[in-house]
Symmetry: C2
Subunit: 636 residues, 2 copies
């Protein structure tokens, strides 16, 4: 069950994210899609729909498609975010604007249900001829997600009807000789599953499963290339692992290729594993989860270490300065984690989900919500970041907008639907996965209503209150205890309890209206030691407090960070009164190396004692250009 | 004065290199050029000359050009190396083979003197139309160097005559409207200067200077592109800094672009600065020297940190695992350094020349002389090196041959002419730059003959003996004292002397026949601390002994190197009886981290004491595939 609509957020860290999305990002995106922002890269996304409508209505159009071939998806993600925004905070103007866009989309839809502005405007004969590269199923998937969200949040069915027609024509098309097809960029699979959940139409679920099952089982990409009349951009199929098509999904053991594609695919695989009970599909999901989280994950929750292909590489290849770690990939990891939590209760899934949310994703958005990182390095040095061939993808400052604008609307749709990730519900248990202040109301369905008060991730205390519990139901409250919390106290109505930790959760049973559950987490700042197999990190440590990764920025440390080493045994102090992004900084004793002219010297550097100030990683690059580093060397 | 022919090498480290070149590399290259090696990449270089000859003689040819557009230069570099080889060790068979090749080259030369097989065979109308990319002046330059070497070493003038005709036609061509031209890949400039030194023809020197002066002063590359009938491979001129054409050479302050191009250009600039006394050209050379050696140099003497463009990037951007550090670039740095030494005496030039020779260059050739590295990383980890997109250029084992075969013949021509780098001669002084055992005989020209006995770089003692000194000349022996030698003893006839160190050299005057000069260098192994500005190295140290950089290889260290940390204060011990490449290994106390499953953990690693074995960097990858690392973390 999706508890998104049952949750109302209170104040705190996540409320800030939701508010930024509603008040800044979504309105900004709207203006961007309409090309109303001076100085930003042109989007043309709405204009593409206008042209497609004109083409439908007159057989020709004045103007041509502009932008990425997946430009439609920017509109879709904005619509999905806008839907959540309307639910969180009704807004008649926005609702009208959404309706206008949906009406335009309907005009852009072809008679047989086909919807894609690139192919309608620019390559009318080429539809479904280059699934590997053309992203039309990707765009359709995002529009399906938007359609379901709009229907859930506003009751509007117009887009849902549009996308049902598109899905229906897809079901017709992808049978018989086309049943070996699958898209280059997974997304439609999880979207079709969502559409099936919303409509009950099993053929959508079946098509999702068909795409998943077909993937990597044939030379479909080559077959596409060899066909007459195909729209071709690349002359070869390249490396099929780039799009996880190198082998059948059930035989895939390593997370490879384009990271966003990977986690979108794995999310859909998890959906379908749950739906079908297919043990081999579930096993593949678990294996791929472990591949990511045990060997290919940045400490920030970022994934995809290579800028080339925006891709996973090999185990333990996690460079800090050239990291790609795309914001969208961390978001996709959250999607995957959330679905794994539906399949089995496991603290590891929620721990990773939280790690990605508070670090790798949140760093993608400026504190004021107005600029965005696509790429999230763990080290950025002026003169290097952005300035060498190998660092050309790295920015030291967030950009207003991108030619490829996938990340900002992706963050917006996540931040406006966090209840879905905070809570999980089974027949007899409410699972508190993330600690987001607010209230979960499942009275109608489960006979329980729970409020959570907390200052987390700044404060260490979670205060659950059973607002109401129907006495004829015996609901259990399961609270995740993060693996990093070494000493955790759990109290019921102020009394300690001997609740047992099972798979990362404590289960609190027989709660009654008015009962309180207090969880006190161990949020002492901690030093994090990387595996020695991560070459980039050897001899270095990172710092965390709770779910937050910290980093050193030059602005707090006399300008430079590369000259800093931390003292191995020093306590890490929290600077309760010195906050950034409403989160306290940390301080640890260390050393600063003196400047020297020698590139290499037999003379050791001259060290002076230095108090090193650390800020939460999500807040870096919010005070002008400054060097930044997460992993700092230890000096004995 | 070029003292190459005055020097006869004795036994020792460099003799091994010379012997490998003569006995292994040069014969191997010969077979490669003739396509006689099974399983190696086809060269076709000799065949290209045959086709060009056929084209000249009949107006058509059966077959077509194959290989890089600069394939001719492989033949040229082999000829140059063969010339030196013939001087070091006469060999009638090789000499005949050389004569055969030269005769073939003459047949491939067009009537007007033009020589280039690519344009003769494949693009007859395109000569000199794409200097930016076509490498025809680069090929001509290498052939000029070969011609001069053959004449110097064997007295043969046939190739010299051929290349004089080519140079003459170039002088005619590159005047008037073509006087703004300059080649994309510098090389012909230093070659024309060498040809001028051999022939006394000042127009060759003047053309070299013209190319240097024209470089970066106009939009010549664009002009070339815009012309009709041009042979075009790239549609745009790209980044002119790639070929050091972004500004006039006298205004260049940072070493940028393709590293081999850069140092070949700077070497020619130094030649011409010395020839003309042009202070602004000399100043540019010094500035560029400092840019390299103070901010853009690997500790191994490698240069060019980026695989993309094989190029310099920015100051202090010196990654270890993705280093390019091409063997040819380190060789080119030696060329540049040697020429700077002609301009001013300075230990820094010879120190760097020696660093590159004993590390960055020598590592390019296997201990058996039969396989070669193009790329010389300072860290290579199995499963990463060669296996990720960013490490695709890195190899863990040397290859037999390359499609682009520039490095092996370049090393061969260097190793067979080391006398040129070991000694320098001015009117009144013999300079001992490198300590290569052997004898310098300048009796005819300078009235002095000096022998050097030494086990350097294994032994620490240099034993100079004045074999003969004419009493009517007052020659000085100047011996470089490396900057790394903290305590150096200099004795004349066994007695200490109070000789003063001036610019890195001690000057020993009034030596007579039979006198000995003994220099005892401080060759205690030393820990090398990188500048804190080199992000990749922070918290890590390297080890050197004398001019040799050391590294840890898995094969000596229980398989892994990433789990090793060195103890900051531990003495480094020399393992006199445990050698590789005839050089003792080192050992230093340190720690080995235990294996762990956690990617990141709040628990510190479990460390056990470990004696870490280090081998000289030049000898890595000679015992099968093994992880390797130069910079090791220190753990207090």
């Amino acid at each position: 069950m999706d508890v998104f609509k049952n949750f109302r957020m209170g104040h705190g860290f996540c409320k800030r994210l939701e508010t930024l999305a509603i008040e800044e990002t979504i309105p900004y995106l709207e203006r961007a899609l309409y090309d109303e922002i001076d100085g930003a890269e042109k989007s043309h996304a709405i204009e593409n729909f206008r042209l497609a409508a004109e083409m439908n209505e007159t057989g020709e159009c004045r103007g041509t498609f502009y932008g990425m071939v997946f430009q439609d998806s920017d509109v879709a993600k904005w619509l999905e975010a806008a839907a959540y925004s309307l639910y969180q905070k009704p807004d008649a103007r926005l609702h009208q604007r959404v309706r206008d866009v949906v009406a335009l989309i309907e005009r852009a839809q072809q008679k047989d249900g086909y919807l894609n502005t690139y192919f309608t405007v620019k390559e009318p004969g080429g539809r479904f001829s280059n699934l590997r590269e053309a992203h039309e199923l990707y765009c359709a998937g995002h529009m399906m997600e938007a359609a379901v969200a709009l229907w859930e949040c506003t009751g509007d069915t117009q887009l849902l009807d549009i996308m049902r027609r598109m899905a229906d024509m897809m079901v017709l098309h992808f049978q018989g000789e086309n049943s070996d097809a699958f898209p280059g960029h997974p997304e439609v699979e999880l979207a079709l599953y969502r559409l099936y959940q919303a409509t009950g139409e099993t053929q959508y679920r079946d098509l999702a499963l068909q795409f998943i099952n077909a993937r990597g089982t044939s030379d479909f990409y080559q077959k596409e290339l060899d066909k007459d009349g195909v729209v071709i951009w690349s002359k070869t199929v390249g490396n099929p692992a780039y799009s996880q098509a190198h082998k059948p999904v059930r035989e895939q053991t390593d997370a490879v290729g384009h990271a966003v594609r990977a986690v979108y695919l794995y999310a859909a695989m998890a959906d379908l594993a749950g739906e079908t009970g297919d043990a081999s599909l579930l096993a593949a999901c678990k294996t791929l989860w472990q591949s990511i989280t045990r060997r290919r994950l940045y400490i920030t929750g970022g994934i995809g270490s290579s800028a080339k292909d925006e891709a996973f590489t090999v185990d333990y290849d996690l460079p800090n300065d050239t990291a790609y770690a795309e914001t969208c990939a961390a978001i996709g990891l959250i999607f995957f984690a959330r679905r794994m939590l539906e399949l089995e209760t496991g603290g590891q899934y929620a721990d990773t989900m939280e790690l990605a949310l508070y670090n790798g994703v949140t760093a993608g958005v400026a504190l004021d919500g107005k600029s965005f990182f696509y790429v999230n390095p763990l080290e950025a040095i002026q003169g290097v970041a952005g300035d060498t061939i190998n660092h050309s993808h790295v920015r030291t400052q967030r950009a207003q907008w991108f030619a490829c604008a996938c990340c900002p609307p992706n963050a917006a749709r996540l931040f406006t639907s966090l209840g879905r990730y905070a809570w999980g519900v089974s027949e007899d248990t409410l699972y508190s996965h993330l600690y987001i202040a607010g209230e979960l109301n499942c009275l109608d369905t489960h006979g329980m209503r729970v409020a959570l008060e907390t200052e987390y991730p700044v404060g260490d205390t979670l205060q659950y209150r059973i607002v109401q519990a129907d006495s004829d139901r015996d609901m259990t409250l399961a609270v995740r205890i993060p693996a990093w919390s070494q000493q955790t106290a759990v109290l019921i109505n102020g009394e300690t309890t001997d609740s047992v930790l099972t798979n990362g959760y404590v289960y609190l049973r027989s709660l009654r209206s008015g009962d309180t559950v207090t969880v006190k987490l161990d949020m002492r700042p901690r030093r994090m030691y990387p595996s020695w197999k991560i070459a980039a990190d050897s001899g270095r440590v990172a710092f965390m407090r709770g779910p937050l990764v910290y980093c050193a920025e030059g602005v707090d440390n006399q300008g430079d960070v590369l000259n800093l080493s931390v003292s191995p045994k020093a306590e890490v102090e929290m600077l309760a009164d010195d906050c950034i992004g409403d989160v306290p900084k940390l301080r640890v004793a260390g050393f600063r190396a003196a400047d020297t002219n020698a590139l290499y010297s037999a003379k050791p550097p001259q060290w002076t004692d230095a108090g090193i100030t650390l800020i939460p990683y999500f807040a870096w690059a919010n005070r002008g250009v400054s060097d930044m580093r997460c992993f700092l060397p230890e000096r004995g």
